[in-house]
Amino acid sequence: MSDFTDLTLATARAGLAARKFSAVELTQAHVSAIERNRGLNAFITETPDKALAMAKASDERLARGEGGVLEGLPIAIKDLFCTKDILTTAASHILDGFKPPYESTITQKLWDAGANCLGKLNLDEFAMGSSNVTSHYGPVINPWTKAGDNRQLVPGGSSGGSAASVAARLALAATGTDTGGSIRQPAGFCGIVGLKPTYGRCSRWGVVAFASSLDQAGPMTRTVEDAAIMLGVMAGHDPKDSTSAPMAVPDFRAALTGDIRGLRVGIPKEYRVDGMPAEIEALWQQGIDWLKDAGAVPVEISLPMTKHALPTYYIIAPAEASANLSRYDGVRFGLRVPGASLDEMYENTRAAGFGAEVKRRVLIGAYVLSAGYYDAYYLKAQRLRTLIARDFDQAFEKCDVILTPTAPSAAFAIGEKMDDPLAMYLNDVFTVPVNLAGLPGMSVPAGLTADGLPLGLQIIGRAFDEETMIRAAGVLEAAAGFTAKPGRA
């Protein structure tokens, strides 16, 4: 029954509570949908038996009148989260066969709240990419297609499998991670909601590290309410992550009052970038008008350092990645390619195990951290980062949230921009500054292009004020009334 897969976390949970259907029925509908849609390549590992066993246990708890916030709800996990005894690949050849002996804090919290695990989702290798084409397991196909054009489109990245699976109704929700836009940009490309929390809101423990000062996990869902519900489960202090914030978790769902009267919405004038399609510009203006109609007050703000955010990011993120990825050495886990000496074994293993984009970033990172270049590149980028964060501090003196497009284009065809890393990097022009400043940001589906592809608008909040961001996102969602569904699912 396809109706099951059109439910949201909130409506499915209510249906389970009212005993209208069982968790096993709900999960089986999703397991079947995954089987029918293997062509999307959204999953690296499917775990139907586990999902159904968990659903059965959920039904028993529900029958006793027990059950957590997500009891009986089938979700899927980006394959960057370590899951005990389940293959965890980061979409890299170098993690061949890796079955973690532990569970990430976030997935443990989700299971503790009653969610059921449908499987592990495809992504860009080590989350490095904006179109999910760098995966060792092949590209993910966006379930959306352009009107009158059957070319396969990218789902965005790096959380491409997460976005595609939620958009195609293969999972009620999915986890994502966002280092420079990897939750928000694919959410925009696939017409779903993607929320990157404030840095420190969710534990990074057990999540394969890319750039530790930027990485943050968050929910990917079909509604703002679902994002609020799931964030409430994922968030919270974890002593195992020393950068996780020792702060109480608010009731994010309660923030959805629909009342934004008097809310000051910052519109950054520098975000009108060259070459941005007119329909994205128009949608952004429409978003401003929607919020204004609901009683908000648009305020022009200036984020002058924005134009330096991408180059700053492409020094800091590779530098951190080159350090984080030094652990893949062919000794403790994953792939080993023999060599005559220890060094040669390392070099052979890493040459065979990493794909082209990962190698590029590790090499750039090693260079900008090397003696003689550290000050000119890495230290310079860290100083720029201070200036970029200061821009936001000053802007938030004049406004409460910031509204921007999520990405400067809609989804593009697989194969486009592949030979030019810099063109690919530009996808994240509106999302990267938010990571550099450690702020929360979320993408809400707001409209379609003339040829029928989804477009997202991004709302950026103050640090640890996801509630105001979610409230504004809820109003935007209601005004946009986005109900379109992808063609391939």
Binding site: P101, G339, I364, R383, L384, A437
Partner: protein, 95 residues
């Protein structure tokens, strides 16, 4: 700054990634394209600006210096490409 072949080879060694001699030239060009692009940051005067080393304004917490986990050698070795007698193995490093 532009990377020559020798520098690309040196970085590859630092990063412990084998790059065949024949690929050094093309890889160097790719890396140069990225480096030239990030060098636009030189236009920004950052004199007197503190480098951001921590996203959140918080001091890293200390914890008691106690063993809280361990005794899981078998669990951990399960993922090793090669392990023997409770140890990871590597190619011979001492003659």
């Amino acid at each position: 700054m532009s990377l020559d072949k020798a520098t690309v080879a040196r970085i590859a060694t630092l990063a412990r990634i084998k790059v065949p001699e024949a690929d050094l030239e093309a890889l160097g060009q790719e890396l140069n394209q990225i480096l030239h692009w990030v060098e636009q940051l030189d236009q920004v005067d950052t004199t007197g600006v503190e480098p951001m080393t921590s996203v959140a304004a918080m001091t890293l917490p200390l914890r008691p210096d106690r063993v809280t986990d361990g005794d899981r050698a078998d669990d951990i070795l399960k993922n090793a490409p090669n392990a023997m007698h409770g140890f990871f193995t590597v190619p011979k490093v001492v003659e």
